[in-house]
């Protein structure tokens, strides 16, 4: 089938065998690629019983039909597995150029299974695929690991993704860092790699994927590229990066403050993308392949305590390591972000866990004796940096915090579950559902737990439209009605983005009609907007079924009580969503049963008949 390599690599780390397998055409047609293809395979291949670190949990790295050529932002790669952090479905992706290389090497996916007896990395150079000894880079920080492997393999323009010391130690918030410092941050895929003793994957590809008609393809790419470039939000992101949203947080109330309690923080004036542009930002060559947006930032701090060079911090890091911990020192936020990337831990989960611990300390549940003498007070930069190191190295209280706030609260008890802010074990991203009501049902139902990217409603609530799905007017962000609907349509659409494996920030410009055009030009399959959205719905429901089989029900589709309680001060004080009403609307539109399973009728409509007997007996 055009647009695809049509095969995957299956790597059994236990035996060291590597096989190249054909992917059934209907999987590619119905699930597109990326997270969709991962769902189709992993639904069959990951057993519902057992521990997440058992050898039968698998990692699925995948790309889609738009990767491997010049489509905007198509350097991305998806990784899926059963999450070490949440125990349920996980997909995560990173930008850069790994996805470009993987596709050009002639593979749509890599399945990693089993466990290696010794540290290895996977080497892919087109047809040449082998496991290599990783003992020289085992134990190394991510930048050193990447450098070591790039030097050892020596192909310019190759890509590599790696884990850091945290993943090796199976910290459940351990992430994968790709290319430079791009993170597949959420859910602990790095910990699973570590449990398999797989340090890294190195890939180089030189084949040009075939499309039905190169001229048509080039025309579509050009058209979409121009649209993205000219889009007004793209231009804002290009000028100031994602951190620009911190500069608006006093008005929107979007960024959480002090573990989601306050609504106002003077620190936003210091920790934001505009302030960064005036201080530590440096010009740097773009790190993401074929991206006209270029939101990624590069910073340098040459003097003082927080010297570093590297990417970020992006919005999520600024909020998680800044406002969540009341840390208004921008240089220290950049340094803390740098440390997280070096150790290979997720910045959102890490900042959230530190914020949680600070609250426990404030309430006297944790004391100095529990923190190895660290004063875990709000805004204490040294404490934040020390906790990052402890989490990454599984030392003292850090060992507990690195298992995520859900597990930490389980162990600590004493009411800490009231301020452990997560959905299904995934710490919430830095967007407040009291500011944009659509985040409520989105977080509550995302297949990987509390997530804003598996339904990027931030691009729509109050600002955007999607006429192809019936959203003709921007909605009031503070209206509850219509937000079940908004969550559903954006989740379906985002499932296609994650399956096409392109960056969510293009979603401000790229409509379902545009995406249909691009998929048609890449594959020759005739897509229209409705077919695109239907594919997204199919993928979303298959991931839901994956979770249902693991025991997930409607009782898990909740928001932390704190997020349904007013902030203290700020623009959203006293303004709360009617979460129950939102969820009712959402469930009705999804055609899900009251217990949280997709109805048989819906499963049949989506061609997911094979799921019915698993869910209904």
């Amino acid at each position: 089938m055009k647009g695809y390599a049509g095969r995957l690599l299956r790597v059994d780390l236990s035996s060291g065998t590597i096989t190249k397998e054909k992917i059934p055409d209907e999987y590619l047609r119905d699930y597109i690629g990326g997270t969709g293809l991962a769902a189709r395979y992993l639904y069959d291949e990951i057993p519902v019983n057992g521990d997440v670190f058992d050898e039968n949990n698998k990692l699925f790295f995948s790309v889609g039909p738009l990767n491997g050529k010049q489509f905007p932002t198509s350097g991305r790669c998806n990784v899926s597995c059963r999450s070490p952090l949440t125990g349920i479905w996980l997909d995560s992706s990173w930008s850069g150029r790994f996805g470009y290389n993987l596709k050009r090497a002639g593979y749509d996916a890599i399945i990693i299974e089993g466990k290696s007896p010794r540290p290895v990395y996977l080497y892919i150079n087109n047809e040449q695929v082998e496991l290599k000894d990783a003992s020289a880079v085992w134990g190394k920080m991510t930048s050193e690991s990447l450098k070591g492997i790039y030097e050892e393999c020596g192909i310019s323009r190759a890509s590599c993704c790696t884990i850091g010391p945290a993943g090796e130690k199976m910290v459940k918030t351990g992430c994968i860092i790709g290319d430079t410092t791009k993170a597949a941050g959420r859910g602990g895929s790095g910990a699973l790699m570590g449990s398999k003793k797989l340090k890294a994957i190195y890939v180089y590809g030189s084949q040009n994927p075939e499309v039905p008609d190169e001229d048509v393809w080039r025309k579509v790419v050009k058209e979409i590229n121009t649209k993205i470039k000219e889009n007004k939000t793209s231009q804002g992101l290009k000028a100031y990066g994602t951190g620009v949203a911190m500069a608006m947080a006093d008005q929107t109330g979007d960024a959480p403050i002090k573990n989601w309690t306050l609504g106002k923080w003077d620190g936003f004036a210091k920790v934001n993308g505009i302030a960064m542009a005036k201080t530590i930002l440096k010009k740097h060559k773009p790190q993401c392949f074929a991206c006209p947006i270029r939101c990624a930032r590069y910073v340098e701090i040459d003097e003082g305590e927080y010297q570093m060079k590297g990417e970020g911090p992006e919005y999520e890091a600024m909020a998680a390591l800044g406002s969540m911990c009341l840390n208004d020192n921008l240089e220290s936020v950049a340094y803390a972000n740098f440390l997280c990337n070096e150790y290979g831990i997720d910045v959102i989960s890490t900042g959230s866990a530190i914020s949680f611990a600070m609250e426990a300390y404030e309430k006297g549940i944790l004391a100095k004796k529990d923190t190895d003498g660290i004063e875990l007070t709000w805004g204490n930069v040294e404490a934040i940096l020390a906790m990052i190191r402890k989490i990454a190295n599984r030392e003292g209280i850090g060992d507990l915090l690195g298992q995520g706030v859900r597990e930490a609260a389980d162990v600590l008890g004493q009411g800490t579950e009231d301020f452990a802010i997560h959905v299904k074990g995934l710490e919430l991203p830095m967007h407040d559902p009291r500011a944009f009501f659509a985040f409520g049902p989105t977080y509550a139902t995302s297949p990987r737990g509390g997530c804003h990217l598996r339904g990027y409603v931030g691009g729509f609530d109050g600002v955007g439209v999607m006429p192809e799905a019936g959203l003709n007017e921007p909605q009031d962000p503070h209206a509850s009605e219509g937000k079940g609907f908004l969550a559903k349509i954006v989740q379906d659409y985002c499932a296609v983005f994650q399956s096409s494996v392109i960056c969510f920030f293009t979603l401000y410009a790229v409509t379902p009609t545009d995406l249909a055009k691009a998929l048609t030009a890449a594959t020759g399959i005739s897509y229209d907007a409705q077919k695109v959205l239907k594919a997204g719905e199919r993928i979303f429901n298959l991931q839901r079924a994956f979770n249902n089989r693991l025991g997930l029900t409607s009782a898990d589709d909740v928001l932390p009580e704190r997020l349904l309680t007013s902030t203290i001060g700020g623009p959203n004080e006293g303004i709360l969503p009617n979460f129950e009403e939102q969820m009712k609307e959402y469930y009705e539109l999804r055609k899900w049963e009251d217990d949280g399973r997709p109805s048989k009728e819906k499963l049949r409509e989506l061609g997911l008949d094979f799921v019915i007997s698993d869910l209904y007996g």
Binding site: K232, T233, Q235, G236, L237, K238, A239, Y240, T242, G243, V244, A245, M246, A247, M248, D250, Q251, T252, G253, D254, A255, G263, K264, I274, C295, E314, Y315, E316, A319, M430, H431, F436, H452, G458, G459, G462, V463, E473, P474, P477, F505, G569, G570, P571, N572
Partner: protein, 94 residues
């Protein structure tokens, strides 16, 4: 006697690639309509057309107006005592 008042406006997102803080002077009292007309007079050629309404004011469906505390402002009343007025088009970051 006409009394002039100096105040700041923040325009975040209206001009897509330039977020700015500007000092303006207007005779007091003034309301939001008056201020928006002034903003459009000065910066209208650079403000994205989506953010300008058919009435020649800012499009409040997309543009939020607030005081420094984040309290929303609307038309029809004197706002000349507010030291800084924010006009933003929300971007929700990454």
């Amino acid at each position: 006697m006409i009394c002039m008042v100096k105040f700041k406006v923040r325009l975040y997102g209206l001009i897509p690639d330039e977020f700015m803080i500007k000092e303006l002077t207007l005779p007091e009292p003034f309301n939001l309509e008056r201020l928006e007309k002034e903003i459009i007079k000065r910066f209208g050629d650079r403000i994205h057309t989506d953010y300008i309404s058919d009435q020649g004011l800012l499009n409040h469906q997309l543009v939020r107006v607030g005081d420094p505390s984040g309290k929303r402002l609307d038309y029809g009343y004197d706002i000349s005592e507010i030291e800084e007025i924010w006009f933003i088009v929300p971007i929700t970051g990454g």
